[in-house]
Every structure is written in structure tokens, then in C-alpha cells.
Amino acid sequence: MTPPTATAPEPVTAPLIPPSTHRYADVIHRLEAGGSMLPDTPENLMQIIGIYKAYAVPMDFYWRDLLYIAEQVFLDPLPAFKYFISQEYLDLPNSYAGDQSKLRIWRGGEKAHPELLEFMANGEAGKMPKLLHHLWHDRINMEFAEACMEAMLWHQDMGGRFYDYLDSDAYRANADRAIKAYFRGNPLMLGLYRLFPEMFMEQVKKMSYYANLGLFWEVMAPVFFEMSDIYDEGGFSGVPAAMDFLVNGIFAVAGRPIYHHVYIKGECFEIIPKSEGFTWLYEAALPYVEAVFYRTAPFRGTKSYNAQAYQVPSDQADFHYGILYADVFPVGSAGIPPTLLMQDMLHFLPPYLVDLYKTHKRGEEDQLIQLGITFQRSMYNVTSAVIQALRDALLYPLDDTDPEHLMANRRFFEAQMDRFLRPEARLSQIQTQDYR
């Protein structure tokens, strides 16, 4: 008989810094241990990966159409067909997927996703002319993508150099050339431009944000597809692994150029040239997270606010109408941008999420709300990835042994969690599984 092997006792080492006393101390300690704001449970992993996949399919349309609008539709005064993407842009090879990609980290192909193409052809209502699909709203809701773009345009000053550049002489000169070329031979529009130049400049700035967001999402779509594939193969050990995958992805493409090129009668006008050195991380990803996840603006038709009673913050930086704060139920009203996204994702839910929703709350009746809350969980995980990436880029490794470094990490995490102290934040709710 073999004697029982003695297991060595766990080494007891005193922590290098005292525990946090923050209201979200548990979450902070989890972040310090390499975790996510979202607890590591099998169901959370299933929910977030499932929704990443459902998000990636419409996103594969959003980025293509955003670039189509920024580069081709441009200043069309009556852009009624801006959502009728050209075949060229629908076929645009993704710069970060497919064999032609310089950076081959994600396995997906460069073409539009087959589920997207199938939906564009048939929609919910079956085969009919594109115009009828459009008018019936049986299509991908670009209005959501435009709402995100507008949030970035409106909040503007959120780090990076993009916004400052839009006010520079170089930008104005580039935009001026493009405006004049676009309306060459159109005395009415050129006359209006002479009378109201700033109005036209503002439109070009908006187009630059279309390009910015399109270039941002062009990367996120293959990342989310890849995560879904890895999960289907049983490849993620938990929520932190999924978060780490995002952190690595953020670094991998951090240096991707952000630019705005416009094609007018076949000629390329570089309104924001790549040579400005703008990057995916600083000029797109971080402003996007700030504008869309945290700030945005109150959605019409959801709730009334009295600005005189300070129900709307006087400082834009305090806006808190993004997904991390959203009460998904009232926001789920018809026509509201997040509802349009939920509607888009509904079409591409993996079967395991459909089955999950059937067993909770009102089953299929309130799938939009349930998937909206899943989306909220998943975006807390994406935000965690951004927070960890920033900590990694600007501060110290989690296993650093210098107490001062660990305290600097702690202060950073606490400052991030301070943003969720306001009552609207959903950080507390997502800690449990019964928030659906």
C-alpha cells in the first residue's frame, strides 16, 4: 500500500498592498487578479461569446457601409440610397482577415459573412426587391451605426488627436479641395458652399467620423467571429481568457492607421492622410469606448429629462447614457438606436442563446430585452479588456512585486470603477446571473 502523498501547504504570503475599500472592491480585486468586471461563470462566457457572434454579422455590414458613405456617398445632398451599399464595398476585402491580410491573426475570410449575405437577400420577409426590404425595415439597421458615429462626432474631445486635426488648416484645405471637386459643375451647391462654408465643413467632419468608425469596426468584426469560432471549438477556459483575447487584439492592431480618403470620379482625395500617423487605438478605439459605451446622449422616446433641474449633466464628460448604464427595458422601444442593434443581432443569434432565452423570463416574447442585457454583459467584458489594456500599456504588470506599482494599478482601477458609482450603472446587476 502506498502511503498517502502529503500535499504541500499553500505558501501563505502577505499581500503587498492592503485590500481596497472601494464600493466595488470585489470587482477591483478581481481585475487585479487578471479577471474581468464580468464574473467568470460558464453562462456568462456563453452569453458574451454568443452575442459577439450575433454582433459581428451586422458589424460586417456596418463597417463596409460606413466606409462606402465616407468614401463614395460623401456630400450627396439627398443620400436616400446611402444604405444601398455598392457591390464593390460589399466585396471589400477585410484588411485584417483573409489571406491577403498583412496581419493574419484571425482565421476568418476577407469577404462579407455568408449569414449577412443571406439575410440581405431574404430578410425576414423573404425575397423581394431591395427597396421594399429597405422601406419595410427588413434589413441591417445602419441607423444604429450612424448613432454611434454621431456620438463620437458630438462628444469629440475624448483623447487622441483626431478632433484637433479636424480644426487644422491642413484638414480644412483638404476638405475644401474635396468639396470643390465633388460639386464641380454644380453652381447651386458651389454657391451654397461660398455662402455657408462652415456647414459644408461640418458635413465633411461628419464623413471623417464615418470613416473613423468604419475602420474601427473593420477590425472588431473578425475579432468577434474568431472568438465565436474558438468558443465553438471549446477553446476558451473562461471569461478572463475571452477578455485576454480582446486585450491581445487591441495591441495587435493598435497601430492600424485611421484616415479618411474620398473617391470623386475615380480620383482619391486624402482628407485625412495616413501620414498624419493617427492610430486605431488612440484616435478610434478609445474615443469610441468613451463616446458609445459611457456617454452617448439620452435617446428620444425613452424618458423625459429636465435639463433645468440638472437631470442632464452640464458637463458632457458626465454623460452616462451608454450601454454600461442602460436600462435595457425602456431603451428597448421601437426605433431607438440600441433597439435597432438588438433587432439586428436577433437575426444572427447562435442556437444556444435562443435556447437560453426560451428558458428565462418571457421566453421568446422578450428576447430583445434578454439579448440586450446579454449585450450589456458582453460590453462590460470589452470595457474590462480596454481597462486591462490601458493598465498594461500605461502602468504595471499584475504580478509586479513593487508595492508602489501595485498601488498605481490600484488607483487606476479604482478611478475606473468610480465611473460606475452613479446609480444608473449596471455593474452591480451583472454580478449576478438573475439580471436578465
Partner: protein, 133 residues
Amino acid sequence: MANIIETAKGAGVFGTLLTAVEVAGLTGALESPGPFTVFAPVDDAFAALPPGTVQTLVDNVPQLARILKFHVLSGAYRREQLIEQPEWESLEGAPVAIRRAEPFEVKNATVVSADIVCDNGIVHVIDRVILPG
């Protein structure tokens, strides 16, 4: 005495940095009279970045140049001078923070070898690639 580029070549631990500087077209600038202060990350610092990070930058020269310029100050400054001021403006435009004097820390990097005097400036060797923000 040697200039910054020659000194880095001689050290043998800046292979990635020198390649990046070459790709970004900054070799000539760092051979010019300057003077400059360069925070030079060692090869291990670049190797510690997640896969793809360096490749994306090398594929995109202006973006690479921007990150490299964040490692350079105009003027030659020794450790004693640098620690007198909490922040120094980099050639990239964003400030480089001097976080600690002992051990000498620049942003979240530790200076593993300070005050390497060259013809056209001073090199401080750091153990991490530093990023604006």
C-alpha cells in the same frame, strides 16, 4: 565618440529598435547633430508586446514613427536633469512622465542603464516600450 545610432548598434541589444528606426526613416535624424535624449527599449521589451503589435506598426510607417518619437526628447538630458521635472515633452508631442528617481523610472519603464553619452545626445536604456497616454 559615437553617435546615438552607432552606440546602439555597438550595444547589441537594440536589434528591434534599430530596425524600427530604419523602417520609420528616422536613422538620419538620429545621426544628425541633435542633440537628443533617447529612451531606448531593449529587444526583450519589444518581444514582450502581444503578437502582431510590432508587425502592424512596421507595416504602417507614420504610425511607427509616432510611437518611436515618443521615446525621444529634443535636447540632451542626464538622469539628474530629468528627475528635476515631472514631465518632458517628447518629439511625438505627448509628455513623457518621470515617475521615480530611485530606481529611475520613465513612465512605466525602468531605466536599466542611464546616461550613455553619445556625440549627439544621451541614451537611457529602458526595459519596456513606453506609450503615450
